[in-house]
Symmetry: C2
Subunit: 308 residues, 2 copies
């Protein structure tokens, strides 16, 4: 692995962050977030989910956000899609990428999508057929959720994760990723599972998604990077988190992740000042929510002028 | 390196934590902390500093704490010592280990000890002679502070850190460690500097001391562990921190560090329930101080019964 390759951070706060908090952020706030994230150098942003509005009213304006995001040159606009109907909405919106969750935990899959993992794989095949017949070049990314364990089921076997990686690719996913949905991962397991995952999926394995629930988020990111992962999901101010662990962190924090890579001399294309300024505006919009992150408080070391 | 070797966590909250906050904790509270830390399985505890009371009134009861700590079977009692006078006090107290700070940053050394690093090395030689002539078997550990950068000076060159590691050993240190005093380290630099440090000091390099100022504490611990470090300083609830960065974390958090290793299957001998209960009592004693850590909030994953 070439350690000099740049790293891509995909901002997922507008989806994974906002779906986890009760309030609905006004569309104008979300658009400001989008504009700010783009201005700070983020070039992949997950703007929402095409799920029924009654389930996630917080994300009801996803199509509007995609439409705006598409006006920003060079931005890869990503949306989450739980099923064929959502995929049709994603295609209609002209999003660049749809993320399909596939739980490695049987129990989580039933609770989240009311389908077994293998039923979801069949749905992925249908989504691929729909995408191909529509003539769209929207990418299909399958995120294997609960890949490191599950709050419902407990252990998740690596062999099952690897089986589903292969099944997702066989069903037509363009790329796949591994997600520690509930913050159970540790860096050793991260190294091992991604190494095995590369053995199955090669360069199609192209995303790591970590939550910082138990303080290991950054160590897990580092471990994944060490074995070759170059694309990470993260969330400004680490909003979100698990409703079963009040106050626990959500996704790893975008600005801290940007600092991690900058401190190691790895390019992310992100601008520190712009990220921190955006974080401050977000904090105003999200008064009362628990925010996370360390860098906004401590600032850059005096040995570093910007994230470069 | 054998990844199955156990890891030792040295609790330094009573010294590095308490010296960084303004209030003076009553001796009885400190004794409870000591008892609780011992009951949770900690077998190395830094109980204070032998520095002039006018400089650190918070630590004026260090001799009393050493006396109590010495009654706990199998506990290695450590104290910080800035100079020959402090070393005499440490020997008088019958502490098991004295930690001597040696700044790799010239500017920090002058600000902190009013001596250049090389003057401090001469002092270390005198302390070694004093220890030997006293017939004590108190270990002498030199901690190279600001080893990863300095808020005063900025960059600290690796070659200078390695030169001081060698100089400390030549002057009579029994062991040496590397400390990221101001939270400038990143995991790549940690790997590199410890690997080079092992090249100079071999197994005498036996401690890593990280602060979590910018969110990289756990990633740095993991990186140091990967290259063979098996002994880490940490601080319950992560108290302390840098007076120049209000709200920034102090040392890496003992209970989170214990979780990191437990999650990787590495033995620390620590008991989760006892650590969390102690943290809760500490939080009462330290009302108003900013505490840190993630595990106390989220709890163990359901796949883990205790830190084992």
């Amino acid at each position: 692995m070439n350690i000099n390759l740049p790293v891509t951070i995909r901002e997922v706060g507008l989806r994974d962050g906002l779906q986890s908090i009760a309030r609905t952020l006004p569309t104008e706030c979300k658009l400001e977030w989008l504009r700010g994230a783009y201005a700070a150098g983020l070039r992949e942003i997950e703007v929402g989910s095409f799920v029924p509005t009654r389930l996630l009213p917080q994300l009801a304006d996803t199509a509007e956000l995609v439409a705006f995001a598409k006006t920003l040159p060079g931005l890869l606009t990503s949306v989450l899609v739980p099923n064929l109907k959502g995929a049709q909405a994603a295609l209609d919106s002209h999003a660049d990428l749809m993320l399909l969750p596939l739980s490695a935990s049987h129990a989580h899959s039933l609770a989240n999508l009311r389908e077994t993992p293998d039923q979801v794989v069949i749905e992925i095949g249908k989504i691929r057929a729909l995408r191909d017949s529509s003539g769209s070049n929207c990418q299909i990314e399958v995120g294997i959720s609960t890949a490191f364990g599950c709050t419902l089921q407990g252990r998740v076997e690596e062999v099952e994760v690897l089986r589903l990686l292969q099944a997702a690719l066989d069903a037509g996913a363009d790329r796949v990723g591994l997600a520690d949905t509930v913050g159970y991962a540790d860096p050793q397991r991260v190294s091992r599972l991604f190494e095995k995952g590369f053995g199955v999926a090669g360069e199609h394995l192209a995303c790591a998604h970590f939550h910082d629930t138990r303080g290991l988020g950054m160590a897990n990111v580092f471990a994944a990077w060490q074995v070759g992962v170059r694309r990470f999901d993260a969330c400004l101010a680490g909003i979100g988190g698990c409703p079963h662990a009040p106050g626990a962190s959500g996704n790893v924090v975008t600005e801290d992740l940007a600092y991690l890579f900058a401190s190691m001399g790895v390019t992310t294309g992100l601008d520190f000042g712009a990220l921190i300024a955006l974080r401050a505006r977000l904090a105003q919009s999200l008064t009362g929510e628990t925010l996370h992150g360390a860098l906004w408080r401590a600032g850059l070391p005096r040995t570093m002028k910007n994230l470069e």
